[in-house]
Amino acid sequence: MNAPAKGFNAPTRRDLLVVGTAVVGGALLVGCSLPDALSTGGGKHDFGAFGPFVKIGADGAVTVISKHIEFGQGVHAGLAAIVAEEMDADWSKVRVEQAPAITNVYANTLMKVQGTGGSSAIANSWDQLRKVGAASRAMFVEAAANRWKVPPGEVTVKDGVVAHASGKSATFADLLGEASKVAPPANPVLKDPKTFTLIGTDRVRRKDSQAKSDGTAIYTQDVHKPNMLTAMVAHSPLFGGKVKSFDAAAAKKVAGVVDVYQIPTGVAVVANSTYAARMGREALKVEWDDGKSEKRSTAAIMASYRDAVAGKGEPKWESFEAKGDAAAAPAGEVLAATYEFPYLAHATMEPMNCVAEVDGNKCHLTFGSQIPTMDQMNAAKVVLTLPGAVTIDTLFAGGSFGRRGNFQSDYVVECVEIAKKVGHGRAVKLVWTREDDFMGGKFRPMVLHDVKVVVGKDGYPAKWTHRIVTQSIMKGSPMATKGADPTAVEGAQGSVYLKATPVVDGQLCTVESPVTVLWWRSVGATHTAFVMEHTIDQLAKKAGKDAVEYRREMYRRAGPEGARHLAVLNLAVEKAGWGKPAAGFTQGVAVHESFGSVVAQVAEVRLENGEPRVGRVVTAVDCGTAISPDQIAAQVEGGTCYGLSAALFGKVELKDGAIQQTNFDTYRVLRHNEAPQVETYIRPSVKAPSGMGEPGTPVIGPAVANALLAMDGTVTSSLPFVKG
C-alpha cells in the first residue's frame, strides 16, 4: 500500500523523504477497521526522483508540494521556504502545488492524519521538509561533483546555482538529469540555523497574492465542470430537526431545476445554476419533525449552566487541575468572578461548499478540504468504498478558522449524498448560502466560567477554584479522550498562573444539546485566555498593584515555565510604552500561550458612542524560529481582528430554538473603520517553530477588558462587549 517512488533505491528515498510513514494510527482512527485503505486504496503513486514533496521542472524551477491547505494562514509560502532554504533554491522561482489526499504519504506528523489544524502546519513539517530540502540539495551537489570530478565538500549551492571554486557552475536545470539518478543520502546534513539566508527574512512572502488580487485564484465556489449541477438543501430551521414530509411540485416547476431529493440532512434541489437552485429551494414546501430538536433559547441554556455551578440538576464534574489540599481553606479575601460566553459562528468569507462526482463506488471531491483523511472516511461511508479510494483535489478555501474540518464532514457528506442520487459521475456543486452557513451550526460552544480566588496576605493567589460549564467538542468523536475534554479547558488547564498558585481545584462539567459545536480559531483559548487574563487584572487591582508588575511576579512564581511569558510581556510592554498611551486612550495588557506560542498584547482603547474602540495594539510573540516574519505579522493582525470582532460583537442566539443571527446584518463583524493598528515584534529564537495561525486571536479580548477595567473599574462578566 505504500507509495514508492519510481526508479532505483526507492525504499531509501521513501524512508528519507517521508517522515511519518507509519500508517496512520492514533485516536482519530478509532472506528475505522481498515487503516491500510487510508493510504492509497491500492493505487501506486509515482512521485518522481525527488519524492512526494518536491518536483523540479526541466527549467530548474522548484515546485514544493503542500500537504496543508492554504486558507489564508500563509502556509504555502512557509512550507516552500523550509524546502528552499535547505535546498538553496532560487526563491523567486519556487512554486507551490497542493498535495492530493494520500494519508500515509502526506500525514500531519503530529495529527497522524492528513489534515491542517491546531496551528501545526509549520511545526509538524519543520523536520520533514528540512530533510527533503537538504536531501534534494545533496543530490545536485553529488551530481556536480561527479561531473566535475571534485570532492562534493567543495561544491556550493546558491539560488539554484551549483558551483565550484575552480569557476565551474551549473544550474539545477543543467544538472537535473544526473541529480535525478543520485541516491539521496541517508542522513542529509541540515544547515546550522545561523546560516539561514531565506528563513527569517522579509523575502519570505506569499506566493498567491497576485492570483488573489486579480480574481484568478480558484475556490470551491468557482468550480465549473462540464454538465455540472448546482445543489441547495432545505435544512431544518431548528437544530436536530428532521424532514417529516415535503412537496416538491412547485420547486420542480422553477426554470432550471432538474430534480429534488430527500437526503439525510434535508431536501436537496439540484439545478442548472445557483440562482435556479435557490429559487427552487424557495418554492419547496417541507414539514419538519422537531421531536428531538433544541427548542430552548440561549438564555435558558445559559441559565442551566448557572444551575450546574450551583449544584442543581446533579451536574457531573471532571477535574482538569488539582494541586495542594483543595479542602483546605487558606485565610484571605476572595475574589469571585463569573464569565459567560455566547455561541460564535466561524462566518468564513466563503460559505461552506463542495463539489462531488459519484459513479457507483467511485467518488471524487473538489473543494477546500481541511482534513482530507476525515473527509475520505466520511465520504467513503456514503459510497461504500475504502477511504483511500476517495480522491480529493484540494483548493484554496475562503477561510476556515476550524469550520471546514469536522468529525462529520457535514457539508462534504451532504454533497456526496446528493451526487450519489445524481450518479453517473456527474459533478454536483453544493452551495450553502450565508444563511445556511450560520444555520449549519458547529459553533464555538457557549461557556460559563466560575472563578473564586483566595488572595493571600501578599496580594497573590493562595487558592484558585475554577469551574467551567460547556458543551464538549470532542465527546463522542473519534478523537475523544478519557477525562475532561482538553479543548474545553486548555488555557485554564496548564495556565502559568495556576502554576504560581499553591492550591488549585479546576473542574469541568459538560452538557449536551442538539446545537452542534466545533473548534473555532484558538479553540479553548477563545474563553480561557479571557478568564485568566481578566481575573489577573482584577487580582492586581485588588492588591493595589500595576497589572504588568503583578504578572511579572506571577511568572517568577511559576518557575522556569514563567520565563517565556515574562520575556514576551517585557518586550510588548517596552515597545508599547506601558503607562504612556496615546491621548484619550487607556492601555490594557494580556498574555496567553496557545499552540506552543506565547503572545502578549498591549491594546489602547477608548469609548466611542459607548462602544470600545481599539487603536494601537502592540504585540510581542515567541513562536520559535520565525520562518516568515511578514506572515507572522499578518496572522497577528488578522487574528487580532478575528478575536476583536468576536469580543466586541460576536454572538449567536437562539429564541425558542430558532437561530436569530443568520447573516451579516444581524451577526455583526469587525469592519474596516473599526480595525486596530497592530504592530508585531518577534522574539528571536533558535527553537523549532510553533504555530501562529491561532495564538494571535485570544489575547485582544482580555486586553480590551483590562483597559476598560483600568478606565473606570468596569468588570466584564460576559461577552460580547457590545450588547443588543
Binding site: S209, Y275, M349, R434, G615, D630, Q677
Partner: protein, 162 residues
Amino acid sequence: MTIALDINGKILQTEAAPDTPLLWALRDDLGMTGTKYGCGIAQCGACTVQINGQATRSCQVPISSLEGAKITTIEGLGGMHALQQAWVKHDVPQCGYCQSGQIMSAAALLAEKPKPTDAEIDAAMSGNICRCGAYQRIHAAIKDAAGMAPAATVAAAAPAKV
C-alpha cells in the same frame, strides 16, 4: 430571451433569466468567477463591481436593469492596476476571498478621490468585510497605490525583529 451586457468593454450575451442578479450571471453564465458571493444581501461587499464607475453590490442588481450600463469587474482591472500591484507588494490577501470586492471598492474610491484621507478610506471600505482581518494592509495598500505614505501607525506595523 437574451440580455446584452457591457462588461469590461465587451458586449456579452446572457440567456440567464432577467431577474437573475448580476453576480450569478457573471459567475454561472459568463464564466467570470472573480466576483464572489458572500452574503447576498448587500452586507459584505464580496460581490462588488463597478456600474458606470460606481462601486455596486452585484448581488442586488438584476441583469434586466443593466442594458446600456458599463460594468467593470475585477477581471476588467487587468491584473496590473496600481491597486493590484500595491496589494501584491503589501501581501494584503490572506484567504483572498474578499479581495476582488475590496479592490473594486478601492478602485472606485481612487477614481473619484485620487488622494483620499484616512476617514474617506474608512468610509469607502467599511462596506467590505474581510473575515481574515486584512484591513490594516488594505488601508496601507490603498494609500500606497494613491502615492501617499501610509500613516505613521501603519508604517510602524512592519514586523520588527528584536
